[in-house]
């Protein structure tokens, strides 16, 4: 590596929305920005969570100085405990709320004492971490206390935007600090890694305050119970709902484990302002009449075990909905969750509730800036080079086009994949390498022990089930001992086909043993192929076939 070279390696978050993790490496010294997780898609059968592959960091364990978390969304902080288990990092940096939420997460994993939590203060002087000089700039997002990170090394000045929007009227009054961004632009930014989520969407995203205004329009006229489902981290949205509840004299119950936890932490740290007597516990709801309560709950994505889903299916211990009640789904379905969200809406409608959601009421705004906001950022910062991050390829490409329109030369716009190694030097940026960068599956208690081959097996099993053939043969030179057994699951009902398969297995086996073919592997292979062909001919299906030969 040439002198004065900063290497930037995204291990997650480019080519996808999820599991953001970027490695910054200067002369063998490393800091990591964000340590997020992703949620499984359909094809990740049985998998609970997806982590970035930490291999690159694990191989450089003792050179990782710090992890900097830009904000406390799961796709930025969710992998933190797993990363800390693999790589001993002395310091985790974040703003106050981010650290508060990190603390609770590390506590759950029994990792609280293994790391120092250090406050990233946008008002304070830059901090020096090894060769890196870091400062933080406030940005507005759908969770309070989000920041951009400025990373200075002898190789140049980098702005890592994190997730942001240009909200000029945020609920806490803490706007994206356009003044400091402009100042930074004047000092000169050599490279910007920027949030691309909404690069394809024209115009600007609405202020969070618009959602509060919608609540103020909608809630006073309602006579039944009001339920509002949003992301458990959307603290300002909860604040706005609570404010309206207090105005109209409704008590607030917070339902759902993660929302209660976040509410507690946010209250303790002063990010939410709720008088004690405004709150009731979920099990007190039945003491109040419908128009006296407002329920904040999890489940805006139709997650199977979430509060709102259980309420919709009349399966929640404390909360139910009835004719005359109103449910506000204050969120947009994350792609892939649409059907589950629709199911929830249908169930709530069947129960008699009116359901307001972003398609029929202005009850949600995005936390990510749209194209005009990205243009504003590009104008303020005037980066010499741009590396779009945080998005699927089409979003990165759209962000790249915006950068080019803003005057960034085409060869200074780097579209990367996870594992791409980008070098920043005084000569500019270039892609120099690709490192191995896969994913790690969390499944039950296991981290990384379920791999692609297991998922491929699960896929086969899920499509057409499994068929087990158990054949017993006598040792040395004996023949088959009785008819083979055949067990099917997920394939077909018991019936003549099963008998036919046993018969076929028996025929194949008798024939092979008659030819004195006794090698287990070979017998298995023949059984597999013959019975497999029979099933395919009869049913058009290709189950997983497992022949077991017992020699006695």
């Amino acid at each position: 590596m040439a002198a004065e070279t900063l290497r930037i390696i995204p291990l997650g978050g480019v080519g996808e929305v999820g599991k953001n993790l970027t490695v910054y490496e200067y002369e063998d010294e490393i800091i990591v920005v964000d340590a997020g997780l992703a949620f499984p898609r359909d094809e990740h059968l049985g998998v609970d969570l997806i982590l970035p592959d930490f291999g690159y960091l694990a191989d450089r364990k003792d050179r990782v100085h710090a992890i900097v978390i830009t904000h406390a969304h799961e796709d930025h902080i969710g992998a933190l405990p797993y990363l800390l288990r693999e790589v001993q990092v002395p310091d985790v940096w974040g703003t106050r709320l981010t650290l508060g939420l990190a603390q609770s997460k590390l506590d759950e994993h029994g990792l609280l004492n293994s790391v120092e939590l250090r406050e990233a203060n946008p008002e304070a002087d830059p901090v020096e971490i090894g060769p890196f000089r870091l400062s933080f700039i406030r940005v507005a997002h759908s969770i309070p206390d989000a920041v951009s990170v400025v990373i200075e090394t002898p190789a140049g000045r980098v702005l890592h935007t994190g997730d942001w929007k240009l909200d000029h009227t945020p609920v806490d009054g803490l706007r994206t600090d356009v003044g400091r961004l402009a100042e930074l632009g004047t000092k000169g930014v050599d490279l910007m890694l920027g949030d691309s989520t909404n690069a394809e969407r024209p115009g600007v995203t609405g202020s969070e305050r618009l959602v509060g205004e919608a609540f103020q329009q909608i809630i006073p006229r309602l006579e039944g119970r009001v339920l509002i489902a949003c992301f458990a981290s959307n603290v300002h949205r909860m604040q706005q709902a609570i404010d309206v509840a207090i105005e109209v004299g409704r008590k607030v119950a917070v339902v759902g484990r993660s929302m209660r936890k976040n509410m507690n932490i946010s209250r303790n740290l002063g990010y939410v302002n709720v008088p004690e007597d405004a709150l009731i516990r979920p099990n007190q709801l039945d003491n109040y009449r419908p128009h006296e309560v407002l329920i904040l709950c999890t489940g805006s994505q139709g997650e199977p075990m979430s509060a709102l889903t259980r309420i919709a299916y009349n399966d929640h211990p404390a909360v139910s909905v009835d004719r005359g009640d109103t449910v506000i789904l204050s969120a947009r379905p994350v792609p892939g969750n649409e059907l589950r969200v629709h199911d929830t809406i249908n169930q709530l409608a069947k129960a008699g509730a009116e359901v307001l959601h972003q398609e029929n009421a202005p009850v949600h705004v995005s936390g990510h800036g749209h194209a005009e906001e990205l243009r504003t950022m590009l104008s303020l910062v005037r980066p010499k080079a741009v590396m779009p991050v945080h998005g699927e390829f089409r979003m990165l490409a759209a962000h790249g086009r915006l950068a080019q329109e803003s005057g960034v030369p085409a060869d200074s716009i780097v579209l990367t994949e996870n594992g791409t190694v980008v070098e920043l030097t005084k000569q500019g940026v270039k892609i120099v390498d690709h490192i191995q960068s896969g994913v790690t599956f969390v499944d039950g208690l296991g981290v990384g022990d379920v791999k692609d081959v297991a998922l491929r097996d699960r896929r086969t099993l899920s499509e057409d089930g499994v068929l087990i053939i158990v054949a017993t043969i006598a040792g040395s030179n004996g023949g088959p001992v009785g008819m083979p057994e055949v067990i099917a699951r997920g394939l077909t009902e018991p019936g003549p086909l099963m008998d036919e398969m046993r018969q076929e297995a028996n025929t194949v086996l008798t024939q092979l043993l008659g030819q004195n073919i006794r090698e287990i592997k070979l017998l298995q292979e023949h059984l597999h192929d013959a019975v497999g062909q029979l099933i395919y001919d009869r049913t058009g299906r290709r189950p997983m076939i497992l022949p077991v030969i017992v020699e006695v």
Copy 2:
């Protein structure tokens, strides 16, 4: 059943978008309107198609006079061959194009000679089928030649709208026949079964012609290849794309089996007008330069084996895209297909293509009328009663609200589920019964042999895989013969855990046999529970466990 009673039983299509099938029964005489299929969701692991349960009709085989198909979309016609195999019906009625497409479908299933195809002509006099007097009214939709059906019996006059929109400028000039609908309203409609798909969406849907206008705006300025993906049945959209191609001097290649089939049938019947020299075969594409061709293809839903998906992944034998090419996704993702469509867009963007889709260009309109159109229909027809059909519950409920606002009394609006029996008499409509109405899965060659239990097994297998324990025991009073074998798939990698499981199985078995417990079922149960607990403790997973005991 009282005299002069019409029974109406939806066997599919209410509470869902898909597999529309409605039974009309008057004094034991039956006609069926539509015979559609549904596509599987995530939870229908390995299932290819979903059919309505034909049980009610199969029990009344000889009383079904006719099947009337309103239009040739799969959710209205797709189950026709399966229904005809179970229930011998003399006549299938449909308009010319509908019959043309039905014919090809029946031919593929070898059923062409088993039924009479009879033309439903909106211009002709009503037809008498048993006690039913049927007439047809033209409606505009996203496939040509769609009709509403008027069903008259002594019990009253029913309008079954089928799928429709109020397109005042349809491509073929054949508008929804508002004149006849108004006339019908004046004569008096006792019950309307109406399309509810877009009842929640305000305003009106755009005319199909708008898509043609968008093509005319977009295509002339393009210099690379142009690919347009839409539903294979959207004949008018193909016509509009072809018209623009001819104007700008591009040859048209139609790619994808279903689209080529539909194009042939539509051309032969005169529904598409394409001069022979405008078309080229896909394998001729390489003889032309990018700006000389326009490709119509399947795959607008990101279907895994479709033309566009294969093109996106550079896996199509005849077609590829390159930098400078443009792909127009002229469709809306059906809920549940979003991720696959996004994947396709990302892959096409990576290949360098510009991708236009409904979020960034006006390249799609719906085939189903929005709320204002439903209001117009209600005003024209002035039905005494309304039964919303063709939609999820929330859509049916929204349609019900529109009906009520239009003056239909609340007790004359029936919200049903599949299997609900509605009776129409001179006294009005009421729900009188619910019959068994499930679904039938088509999986490979099998129709109906895969049932819920198989799907439950597949679900378990897909989550955590399968573990097979094979233990051999000696007959009469012997002990275990050697160590049990353990085979895992989709669960974990081979390793110490597998040895531990074998050991555990052996311990359990030895212990039980020592206590002279030899009943196979009991041994299996103990093995299942002990090994299951061990896996759960070690991994947090619950695979399907299949103990096999071989007695020798």
